[in-house]
């Protein structure tokens, strides 16, 4: 159970990205987060694993206060929260395998990982995860030799290496074509359904939301505008979320 209470983020310079956002995510849910660009979706996701420090508010995960965790506690929390990014965020010049193994950095002893030594079990697991997303043959290629869809699968494999309980996906399909988008979303769905991993996924396209999400929260200028089932987003709600001028497409 992930509990977000009155989360507020004000960036240096006064931009208010999140205002008093509160909601709860039960374990195993596939939660979509929608909203316009700049509505605070990315900030919200990054506050959960404290890549961005919240200004006010609390985030509890299984009754542990993430916002108050010490460095050592944060390391233990972060390693159970996988993250998938819009631009994949792979290290281009490193081999795919190294990128995937990076998912274990929160577990392995830092001293050994600095000299690039990982336990055998981790390496086997890395191959297994790559096989699961269908690119085992690319393990020793440089990450930037892969296509966008393949890179995102590496990103998912990296997140899965963390043996996560939550996956935060920040617009994971926004830079992919529709076909690839569905294949990536299917991987996330599989992880959600088969492994029982809670997924928080920000999305642009409502059809993806309808197809994959159990529940939707919507943000508009940092405020929570909607919290409910995907099918409950009617035209009025839609205009609340996306603004008066917005039109539904697709």
């Amino acid at each position: 159970m992930l509990k977000i209470q009155n989360l507020t983020k004000i960036y240096e310079g006064g931009v208010q990205a999140l205002t008093d956002v509160s909601f709860e995510v039960p374990k195993g849910q596939f939660l979509a987060i929608i909203g316009l660009s700049g509505s605070g979706k990315s900030t919200l996701l990054r506050c959960i694993n404290r890549l961005i420090e919240p200004t006010r508010g609390k985030i509890y995960w299984n009754d542990v206060d993430i916002t108050d965790a010490s460095d050592e506690e944060l390391r233990r929390i972060r390693r159970k929260i996988g993250m998938v990014f819009q631009h994949f965020n792979l290290v281009h010049r490193s081999p795919v395998l190294t990128n995937v193994l990076a998912g274990r950095l929160g577990y392995v002893n830092p001293a050994w990982s600095l000299v690039n030594r990982f336990p055998k079990s981790d390496i086997e697991n890395a191959y297994k995860q790559l096989e699961r997303v269908g690119i085992a043959d690319k393990a020793h290629h440089r990450a930037d030799e892969l296509s966008g869809g393949q890179q995102q699968r590496v990103g998912i494999a990296r997140a899965m290496m963390q043996n996560p309980e939550i996956i935060l996906a920040d617009e994971p399909v926004a830079s992919l074509d529709p076909v690839l988008a569905h294949s990536i979303m299917q991987y996330l769905e599989k992880i959600n359904k088969e492994d029982g991993v809670t997924v928080l996924c920000s999305l642009h396209f409502l059809d993806l939301v309808h197809r994959y999400a159990d529940r939707v929260v919507a943000l508009n200028e940092g405020r929570l505008m909607f919290d409910g089932l995907p099918k409950d987003i009617d035209d009025a709600k839609f205009k609340d979320i996306y603004g008066r001028e917005a039109e539904r497409v697709g």
Binding site: R78, M83, N89, V91, R93, A102, Y107, P110, S113, D122
Partner: protein
């Protein structure tokens, strides 16, 4: 209407601008003493041409010379009964005729030569009777027919005996060969290239770790509570002192082993094995829950012992390198420099170990202090608030006293204890102010503070010309290439650290974020997200810097820093422009080769 006004204004502005520029350049001409008359002066032009022509004929190749000397007697002044030289015996051989064959001092005579080696040149000298000297009268150039003519002024050397006029001409014989200047230039250019190589290597080794401290994107996230910072400030100097002490103890222990060669060798083989197994035990590859306290304590103890053994190992290694290096030096004869290199490596290791141990223990203390401070500040009780204020005061005072001690080292104040008291007082007040400014739970951006300190030091160092640094190092290690390479290394550290850090700042933030999100700590993030991204620009900048260092090492010799600059400066001062030209050509060749190699390597690795 308004538009028109603004256009008048603009014309006025442009006019004023031109006027201003006129004034600026006029003043520029004045202060740089532009002297056009000088450039047109006949005399100056002659000198310019002479130098340019000398430069165009670098002293690289020479020939064996065959020297021809042709003599003819001359009397100064004419004896009473006149003077008639012996007639020329063989007019097929080279000969000269002087007309008149005797004359008063400071009068002109006409000298004509026949059957000389065509198209040669040389001096025409007067050898006064039995004086053993040659007074140059003129330079002669033999024409295509082996003939020359010259009108020369006789010097004031009146004598009753006949003097001789001697024409000396030379002819190249045999194949061309390299001059001594060429050999010297080769020696020095090799010295220059290696000087630059050593400077670059040393500079790069130190600049790489330092560059991370001057990268804003890495440092801005480094924060700590004021408590942690205060504790670190108090404990790090203690760590440094303890580290030096530990190094000394280890050195003494290693000395005990070095009495016997067998012991030293077996010790240096066994100790790394011990360290390896110790570390394998103390650092499990991964753990899912925090270890128990007693396990933690045992691991800590094992790691301390392992570290101690490792330091002893390094000292043993240094001893072995020193001993074997000396032996090799004697055994290898001509290749003794290899042995001396091994010996010097041992010596360097000996020094570096001391520094590294001191820094290591200090770093260890610092990280512990940071952790304790963090834990204490998180308690949020009255104890942590009291410690917050008291430790800040103590740390402020300590830091100020340390800074004062450094200042005192330069200025040697007379009443230093008084100064210490003042500094301590000011530091304590500043510490108190800091503790009031920040709450005990606030995050102080100590990373940014470190960033600004590092930047300032690099900028200050960079602004000092390598030439000036070379002067300081020449005083320290004596004239020669070693001083030059140390000076260049220092300059390299400053400028590369800045260039490198800018590369770190321009890496993609995405991978950094992704690796952080996995729970990686700061060092892991650097190794897995930063380093792979900065390797290409680092290689490129390193090559570029080597290129610069080769160029700079050519002038560092001007102040005694070794390399080819020394020769070049000497030859320019002695007006040996042909030799200087050879050295300038060597520099040009080396620089263009370097440029080529670096562009090839850059293309390959970037």
């Amino acid at each position: 209407m308004k538009k028109k006004k603004s256009s008048i204004r603009r014309s006025l502005g442009i006019g004023l601008g031109i006027l201003f520029a006129f004034f600026v350049y006029a003043y520029g001409f004045q202060v740089t003493k532009v002297n056009l008359a000088e450039t047109k002066s006949e005399h100056r032009q002659q000198q310019l041409f002479r130098i340019l022509r000398a430069l165009a004929r670098p002293n690289i190749i020479e020939y064996e010379k065959e020297v021809f000397e042709v003599r003819v007697p001359v009397m100064i002044p004419c004896p009473a009964d006149g003077f008639e030289p012996d007639p020329i015996e063989d007019t097929t051989q080279p000969y000269m005729v002087v007309t008149p064959s005797c004359s008063d001092p400071r009068t002109n005579v006409h000298v004509e030569g026949f059957n000389f080696e065509p198209l040669t040149r040389g001096p025409l000298n007067l050898a006064p009777f039995e004086s053993g000297v040659n007074l140059q009268l003129a330079n002669i150039e033999i024409d295509r027919f082996g003939h020359f003519e010259a009108t020369v002024l006789l010097p004031n050397r009146p004598s009753d005996e006949a003097h001789e006029i001697i024409a000396i001409t030379r002819r190249n014989v045999g194949s061309p060969k390299l001059t001594t200047t060429a050999y010297d230039t080769w020696d020095k250019i090799v010295e220059t290239v290696f000087l630059a190589l050593l400077a670059t290597t040393l500079g790069v080794m130190i600049a790489i770790p330092l560059s991370f401290f001057a990268a804003r994107n890495l440092m801005k996230d480094v924060t700590s509570s004021l408590l942690g910072i205060s504790l670190s400030i108090l404990l790090i100097p203690a760590g440094l002192l303890l580290g030096l002490q530990v190094a000394d103890w280890s050195y003494q222990v290693s000395q005990a082993l070095t009495g016997n060669m067998m012991m030293a060798v077996s010790g240096s083989v066994l100790s790394p094995v011990l360290v390896w197994f110790g570390l394998r035990w103390a650092l499990p590859q991964q753990e899912n829950r925090p270890p128990k306290t007693n396990v933690k304590f045992f691991r800590f103890a094992v790691m301390i012992v392992a570290a101690f053994i490792f330091i002893i190992f390094l000292y043993l290694l240094s001893f072995l390198l020193l001993t074997w290096g000396n032996a090799l030096d004697k055994a290898l004869g001509n290749f003794g420099f290899l042995g001396r290199f091994v010996r010097d490596l041992g010596d360097i290791l000996n020094t570096v170990v001391r520094v590294i141990v001191a820094l290591g223990v200090a770093g260890f203390f610092g990280s512990f202090a940071g952790r304790w401070g963090e834990a204490l500040s998180r308690r949020k009780d009255s104890l942590s608030r009291a410690a917050h204020v008291l430790l800040a005061i103590a740390a402020g005072a300590a830091l100020a006293i340390i800074l004062m001690a450094i200042t005192n080292w330069f200025y040697l104040f007379r009443d230093i204890n008084l100064y210490y008291a003042y500094a301590g007082g000011v530091g304590a007040v500043l510490g108190l102010l800091a503790s009031l400014r920040y709450k005990s739970t606030d995050a102080v951006p100590n990373g940014l503070i470190l960033y600004y300190v590092a930047r300032t030091i690099f900028n200050a160092l960079r602004s000092v010309e390598a030439l000036v640094m070379a002067i300081v190092f020449v005083v320290w290690v004596g004239i020669g290439p070693f001083a030059g390479s140390l000076a260049l290394a220092l300059h390299t550290i400053a400028s590369l650290a800045k260039l490198y850090s800018e590369q770190v700042e321009s890496i993609m933030a995405g991978p950094l974020e992704a690796v952080q999100a996995t729970g990686a700590n700061r060092l892991q993030t650097i190794v897995y997200a930063v380093i792979p991204q900065i390797i290409p620009p680092y290689i490129s900048y390193t090559m570029y810097r080597w290129d610069i260092n080769v160029r700079m090492s050519t002038i560092i010799g001007f102040v005694g820093g070794g390399g080819i600059g020394f020769l070049l400066q000497q030859n320019i001062n002695l007006l040996n422009y042909r030799d200087a030209s050879a050295q300038m050509i060597a520099i040009a060749i080396v620089v263009s080769i370097m440029d080529y190699i670096s562009s090839v390597l850059r293309e390959k690795y970037v």
